[in-house]
Amino acid sequence: MLGYILKRLLSAIPVLLGISIIVFLIMAMIPGDPATAILGSYATPENVEKLNRDLGLDKPLFKRYFIWLGNILQGDFGRSYSLNKNVIDEVIERFGATLILAGTSFIMCSLIGICAGVLSSAKQFKLTDKLITFIVLLGISIPSFFLGMMMILLFAVHLRWFPVSGMWPIYGARDLTALISHLALPASALAVVATGVIARLSRSAMLEILRQDFIRTARAKGLDEKTVIWRHALRAAMVSILPILGIQAGFVLSGAVYIEMVFQWPGVGRMLVDAILKRDILLVQGGVVFVAACYVIFNIAVDVAQHLLDPRIKA
């Protein structure tokens, strides 16, 4: 097992190196440099050149890449010019906010999605199944940013149950209730599509299991339906549901970008969008590499979990 984990971790290194090269090249290739973005209308060639020199962007490309990579390996992600702050401090702080949002959302969509899928499969072709299938289809079809705006209009502007945006109240205690009230709308909006996907795939995974012999045996020996479904069938189906959850976790994490923009959630997605618009090269590079590393590690963890759950899956 340990060897497997080690092997997977080693194979992540070329992936991360590749990502660092790609993000570096993309930032070098997109039109517009930080100096032009800062100076706006005043971007004369002379002013741009001087500012680029001040920002250390006048060195050749490959040299800049190796300086940057060398610094990262020593834990120095550089300083963001647009925030006037160390990149790594900002990324960790913002990634924490994204994790709270995406994590809550992920728990919501996993629980609701699996429950809906199980319920739907247990009541195949009955009214419950049709109702759930319909709601799921609806959920999958609504773009999350649009749903987010509609939720703001209804729950924040008209009903005033929840705040419109942000993560903490401007005044007052920063406690769990305050966080939950700010989290409710964005986390729900973010969870809807993934819930639908998980529900659909859980349903088919369950249907497959429910047709198998050991389920018939379980029913035949007189176990009640609850035990058959939740203890025996779901457990077996989890082997195929788990990788779906892994993929959906990535989906929720990337979907957080839109939701963070709509709800002004101070997460890493909004940070990256702002940084790209301001051509804050170091912040974009550092942010992408950091998020990619987290995603790679998360995927390894899912694989390891699957391995533990079903030893038949070969390392």
């Binding site: 039109p31 517009g32 440099d33 100096a35 032009t36 973005a37 800062i38 100076l39 706006g40 209308s41 005043y42 971007a43 004369t44 060639p45 002379e46 002013n47 500012l51 001040d54 010019y81 647009s82 925030l83 006037n84 702050k85 900002e90 702080e93 913002r94 429950c115 319920l119 247990a122 009541k123 419950t128 705006m149 703001i152 209009l153 924040a156 502007v157 005033r160 149950w161 705040p163 419109v164 945006s165 942000g166 903490w168 401007i170 005044y171 007052g172 209730t177 939950i180 009230s181 009640d224 339906e225 609850k226 479904i229 923009m261 709509v262 002004q264 101070p266 909004r270 702002d274 051509r279």
Partner: protein, 524 residues
């Protein structure tokens, strides 16, 4: 039915949990008394006036700092601030300022001539010990300064390399705001997050991506502000900003999107509007192609329905522009100018006189950018208007930075016309950088359409060298008449900045400088 029982129980539990959570939330979204919450468009970069360039950041800075001079309320004319008076030498190169007595920075240190010298040396002298607290992207505003000398503790002398009339209004710009030398020495490169000035509000705290809080400075030389504190919240998304305003989460919102204006028409809100030193225009390529003929350039000005653009496309958030200088520069604006009327027949006649019927034109349009308003929709409307008078217009759309990269080096060999917008702080800036022969792109200027008129060059050079405001005004007015006639641009719109305040806010008005001044604002 065991299965359904289970879920019903789960639903009940979930419902109860939600109800408990909801009951704990305060339903009132009311902001506190005496504290103004402002919905900003972005997180500020830094609170160091020498290091920032965005109007968004200026909105905070103007309340934290004072400059030597400032714009008189409601105008773009300079009046004393930290300097009580000044003398200008006859040749226009030496400015001597007398400074206000007994002014202290928020950190307790004294404001004096040494502090003023420190501020400008930090920006301009690469050998200065605190030059590394930059970069200072707008330091070229003061590139005419040769030296700053301390005459005595309350007198400071600036020597320029040549007469430069916009100097005073550049001092009134945020780049000229005075920071505390002690605070810069103490915080170094982190000064931008620990600002200290002399302004009506002092820095409270900065919670990244949530809020910048400033508190009343009771010892301000003009008296304490009425508000206890101001909270600036960055809300990038315009729809979300609108929703916050409607939900009562903020008291003031800047840059209301045109489509949301109708939401704030009724009671409970005040809509503020103010035209600013902004002009939106089309650069016409006067070097080659149909627009090298002045008649075709004038025809374009007649053919485009500017009223329709400002009223229908921009929903009234802009006014029709008459010439190259925005009316916000009231002292330098030529009131006798009338915008080119919408007259397609006259346009057709001019075009056929010039033999340009059916000419094909390439038109550079940007997707968006600083001061560009709604460039795609405006570009499309312009295309249709020109089509109607027999000019075939092909639009090429570019992302803003790419667009600047195409337009700023000049349109020659590429395009016949391009959208552009400028916002400046002195009537000198735009024409000097974008209309003189010496400002053609190959000479480092922004005259991307290669307009050239020796009389205009002469007037602009003379206006920059003069230190007499009346003299300058006369020269700018003459320049505007000539430029309007020559039509190197299609003059389209002057943007009106807007803001919405809730009915709890009083004594607020927008400034033509687009700065947000809050020292007299009250809230109850």
């Amino acid at each position: 039915m065991a299965l359904l029982d289970y879920t019903r129980r789960a639903m009940l539990a979930a419902g109860t949990a939600t109800a408990i959570a909801l009951s704990a939330i305060s339903l009132s979204a009311q902001t506190p008394d005496d504290v103004l919450v402002v919905g900003q468009i972005a997180e500020p970069k830094a609170l160091d006036p020498a290091a920032v360039t965005a109007v968004n950041d200026f909105r905070i800075l103007m309340n934290l700092y004072d400059g030597l001079v400032r714009y008189k309320d409601g105008t773009l004319e300079v009046e004393p601030a930290l300097a009580t008076s000044w003398d200008i030498s006859d040749d226009g190169t030496v400015y001597t300022f007398s400074l206000r007595q007994d002014v202290k920075f928020h950190d307790g240190s004294d404001f004096n001539a040494d502090a003023v010298k420190f501020n400008f040396d930090r920006m301009l002298d690469e050998a200065h010990p605190y030059h590394n607290t930059g970069p200072f992207p707008l330091s070229f505003f003061f590139s005419a300064i040769v030296s700053v000398e301390v005459v005595d503790s309350m007198t400071v002398k600036f020597t320029l390399n040549a007469p430069y009339a916009p100097f005073l209004s550049n001092l009134a710009y945020p780049t000229g705001l005075i920071v505390s030398p002690d605070a810069v020495a103490k915080h170094g490169t982190d000064f931008g997050r620990n600002p200290s000035g002399t302004g009506a509000f002092k820095f409270g705290e900065w919670r990244s991506n949530e809020a910048v809080v400033v508190e009343a400075n009771s010892g301000h030389w003009e008296g304490a502000p009425k508000l206890q504190a101001v909270v600036f919240r960055p809300i990038t998304d315009a729809n979300t900003r609108t929703a916050e305003m409607l939900a009562g989460g903020i008291d003031m919102m800047v840059e209301v999107p045109p489509v949301a204006l109708s939401k704030f028409q009724g009671d409970g809100y005040t809509l503020h509007e103010q035209a600013g030193p902004h002009v939106w225009f089309l650069i016409l390529n006067a070097k080659e192609g149909p627009f090298s003929d002045v008649r075709v350039r004038q025809a374009a000005n007649y053919a485009i329905n500017k009223e329709a653009i400002v009223n229908d496309v921009l929903e009234g958030t802009a006014a029709v522009a008459a010439g190259p200088t925005p009316p916000a520069f009231a002292w330098a604006y030529n009131n006798s100018l009338e915008p080119y009327p919408y007259n397609p027949d006259k346009a057709r006649q001019l075009i056929s006189e010039a033999g340009a019927d059916g000419a094909e034109l390439t038109f550079y349009v940007t997707e968006g950018g600083s001061g560009m308003l709604d460039p795609v929709a405006m570009g499309t409307a312009i295309q249709a208007d020109l089509q109607a008078v027999g000019l075939k217009v092909n639009i090429e759309t570019y992302e803003w930075n790419t667009f600047l990269g195409e337009v700023n080096p000049g349109l020659e060999g590429k395009a016949d016309m391009a959208e552009m917008a400028w916002m400046t702080n002195d009537p000198d800036t735009l024409p000097f950088l974008a209309l003189r022969t010496e400002a053609w792109p190959d000479k480092g200027g922004f005259n991307s359409g290669y307009y050239s008129n020796s009389k205009v060059d002469e007037l602009l050079e003379a206006a920059r060298a003069s230190t007499d405001q009346n003299e300058r005004a006369r020269l700018y007015k003459d320049m505007q008449t000539i430029v309007q006639e020559d039509a190197p641009w299609v003059f389209v719109a002057n943007w009106k900045q807007n803001a919405v305040t809730s009915d709890r806010v009083s004594s607020f008005s927008l400034q033509p400088s687009f700065f947000l001044l809050l020292n007299n604002v009250d809230k109850n």
